[in-house]
C-alpha cells in the first residue's frame, strides 16, 4: 500500500465515562474507498469525528499526512440558513475559484434544479438540503472525504446515480480517497475497496473484508457474498457478547 493519507488508531473512546469504541485501527491510502459499516448507533459517526480531528478526546493516535486536506460530511446538512444553496457551496470552494458560478456546476451534479440554487435552505426539502451539502463537500476539493451516511433517505434511483457521481469523482481527481460510513451493506459491498465491520458494545472492528472485483463494477453474486461475509462477522460478535457478560476491551478479537 502507498503511504497512507491518514492513520487512526482508537484504543478507547468514552462518552460520559462509558466506553463506546474500544478497538479501531485504519489506514486510508490515496485513491481508496474505505467503508465503515455497522448497525445504527454503534459508534460509526464517533469514529468519523475522531478521523476528522474534530474530537481529540480519545486514547489512541491520529496521524494525517502532512498538508492533508480533510473534508468531513456530516449526517445533518449543516448549511448556513441565511445563505442560498449556491452561496453555501461557493464558500466551500478553494478561494481562487469563488464567485465564478462554479457552485452551479456542483449543484447540477447532485441534480438540484436550477431554480432551487438561489433559494435558502428553509425553502427546500431536507433531501434537497442533503444533496446541496454533498455538492459542498465535493466542491471543497479535499484529498480525503469523510462521508457520514451521505445518501441516507434519498430515493433509490437518485442514490444510485449519486453513488456513480462519487466514484466518477475519484477517477477525475486522481488520489482522492473516501471514508464512507454507512449502515447500508449493499452500498458498502458495491462501492468499497475495503470494508471495516464495527460491532459489539462497546464497538470494535470485528472484520476486515476485501470485496472481490473492482469497485462499482461488481456483479450480483459478488455483492451478495460480501454482504453474507459482513453479516456473519456481525452475528458471531453478538453471540460472543451475549456469552460474556463483560467483554474484555483490552483484547479485541482479530478476524
Amino acid at each position: 500500500m502507498a503511504k497512507p493519507l491518514l492513520h487512526l488508531t482508537v484504543d478507547e473512546k468514552r462518552f460520559a465515562g462509558t466506553p463506546v469504541l474500544v478497538g479501531l485501527d485504519l489506514d486510508i491510502a490515496p485513491g481508496e474507498m474505505l467503508a465503515l459499516v455497522g448497525p445504527s448507533g454503534c459508534g460509526k459517526s464517533t469514529a468519523l469525528m475522531l478521523a476528522a480531528g474534530l474530537d481529540r478526546d480519545f486514547v489512541g493516535t491520529r496521524l494525517p499526512a502532512p498538508g492533508l486536506r480533510i473534508v468531513p460530511h456530516f449526517q445533518e446538512p449543516s448549511l448556513l440558513p441565511w445563505r442560498s444553496l449556491s452561496d453555501n457551496v461557493d464558500m466551500a470552494l478553494p478561494p481562487a475559484q469563488r464567485g465564478r458560478g462554479q457552485a452551479r456546476r456542483w449543484l447540477d451534479g447532485v441534480e438540484l434544479p436550477r431554480d432551487s440554487h438561489a433559494q435558502f435552505p428553509s425553502q427546500v426539502s431536507l433531501g434537497m438540503q442533503r444533496r446541496a451539502a454533498l455538492a459542498r463537500t465535493l466542491a471543497a476539493d479535499g484529498d480525503l472525504l469523510l462521508l457520514d451516511e451521505p445518501l441516507v433517505s434519498l430515493d433509490a434511483a437518485l442514490a444510485d446515480r449519486l453513488r456513480v457521481l462519487l466514484l466518477r469523482r475519484m477517477v477525475e481527481r486522481q488520489g482522492l480517497a473516501m471514508l464512507l460510513v454507512t449502515h447500508d451493506l449493499t452500498e458498502a459491498a458495491m462501492m468499497a475497496d475495503r470494508i471495516l465491520v464495527l460491532a459489539g458494545h462497546p464497538a470494535r472492528v470485528v472484520a476486515r473484508i476485501h470485496p472481490p472485483g473492482p469497485r462499482g463494477q461488481r456483479h450480483g453474486e459478488q455483492v451478495t457474498a460480501t454482504i453474507r461475509h459482513i453479516q456473519a462477522a456481525q452475528s458471531s460478535t453478538i453471540s460472543l457478547d451475549e456469552a460474556a457478560a463483560a467483554p474484555h476491551p483490552s483484547a479485541p478479537e482479530k478476524v
Binding site: A52, P72, L80, P81, P121, S122, Q123
Partner: protein, 246 residues
C-alpha cells in the same frame, strides 16, 4: 392604518379635554403645542437642537453597539471570560445612569466627549447581555462546519456569527435607540449648552410647558421615522431567509 389614525385622533381629543378642564399654563392643549413647535421650527431653533441631539444619539449608539457586541460575542463564546466578567456585568447593569453621567462630567469636565462616553457606558451592558445570549445560542453543528471548512476569522464573523446574531442585534438596537436618547437628554440637561435636553431645561425654568412638549414630541416623531425608514426595512432584509418550508 385607519385604526392608527383613529387612535391618534382619540388621544388628541382626550388631551384637548384635559387641557380644557385644567385651563391653565401647566397643561397646554394640542393646538398650543403645535404652535410652539411651528414657532421653533420657523426660527430654526428646533432643527438646530434636534440635529445636535440626534448627532449625540448616533455617536453614543454606534459606540455602545460596537463595544457591546464585541464584549458580548467574547463572553458568549468563552466560558472563561464569561466567568471573569459576568459578575461585573450584573453590577454594571444596575449602576444608575445619573451616577455615570455626574462622574463623567466630574472626571473629564463638561465636554462633548464626556457626554457621549457617559451615554455609551450606560448602554453597553444591555447590548452585552443581549449579544451574549445570541452568541451562546449558536448552533454547534454550524460552528463545527465552519471549523471543518476552515473558515477564516473574518469569514466566521461575516458568514456565521453576524447573520446568526442579527435578530439579537436588532433587539439591542431598538432598545438602544430609545434608552440612548433618553439618557442623552439627561446629559444635555446637566452639562451641555445645546440640544433638546438643554431646551427642555430652559423651558422648565420659565414654566413653558408648551415648548417643552413641542421638543419632546418632535424627537418622538424623529424616532418613529428612524424606525420606519431604517430599522424595519433593514430587519426585513436580514430576515429574508426565514422563508416558509416549500
Amino acid at each position: 392604518m385607519a385604526r392608527a389614525g383613529l387612535s391618534i385622533l382619540l388621544i388628541l381629543l382626550v388631551w384637548q379635554g384635559a387641557a380644557l378642564a385644567v385651563a391653565g399654563p401647566t397643561l397646554p392643549g394640542p393646538a398650543m403645542v403645535a404652535t410652539a413647535m411651528l414657532r421653533e421650527a420657523a426660527s430654526g431653533q428646533l432643527w438646530l437642537h434636534l440635529g445636535v441631539t440626534l448627532a449625540r444619539v448616533a455617536a453614543a449608539f454606534t459606540l455602545a453597539l460596537s463595544i457591546g457586541t464585541a464584549i458580548g460575542i467574547a463572553m458568549g463564546r468563552s466560558p472563561l471570560l464569561d466567568g471573569l466578567l459576568g459578575p461585573w456585568l450584573t453590577l454594571a447593569l444596575n449602576v444608575p445612569a445619573l451616577v455615570v453621567i455626574v462622574l463623567a462630567y466630574l472626571w473629564f469636565g463638561l465636554t462633548e466627549l464626556a457626554a457621549i462616553a457617559a451615554v455609551a457606558v450606560n448602554k453597553v451592558p444591555n447590548v452585552v447581555v443581549q449579544v451574549r445570549a445570541g452568541a451562546r445560542a449558536l448552533d454547534p453543528a454550524l460552528s463545527r462546519m465552519a471549523t471543518a471548512y476552515r473558515f477564516t476569522r473574518a469569514d466566521r464573523l461575516r458568514h456565521l456569527l453576524l447573520p446568526h446574531l442579527s435578530p439579537y442585534l436588532f433587539a439591542a438596537a431598538r432598545n438602544g435607540l430609545s434608552l440612548v436618547w433618553k439618557i442623552v437628554l439627561v446629559v444635555e440637561l446637566l452639562g451641555r449648552g445645546n440640544g433638546v435636553g438643554f431646551k427642555i431645561h430652559l423651558a422648565f425654568q420659565i414654566f413653558d410647558v408648551a415648548t417643552l412638549l413641542a421638543y419632546a414630541l418632535a424627537f418622538v416623531l424623529v424616532a418613529q421615522v428612524i424606525e420606519l425608514t431604517m430599522m424595519a426595512p433593514l430587519e426585513r432584509r436580514a430576515g429574508r431567509w426565514r422563508g416558509a418550508h416549500g
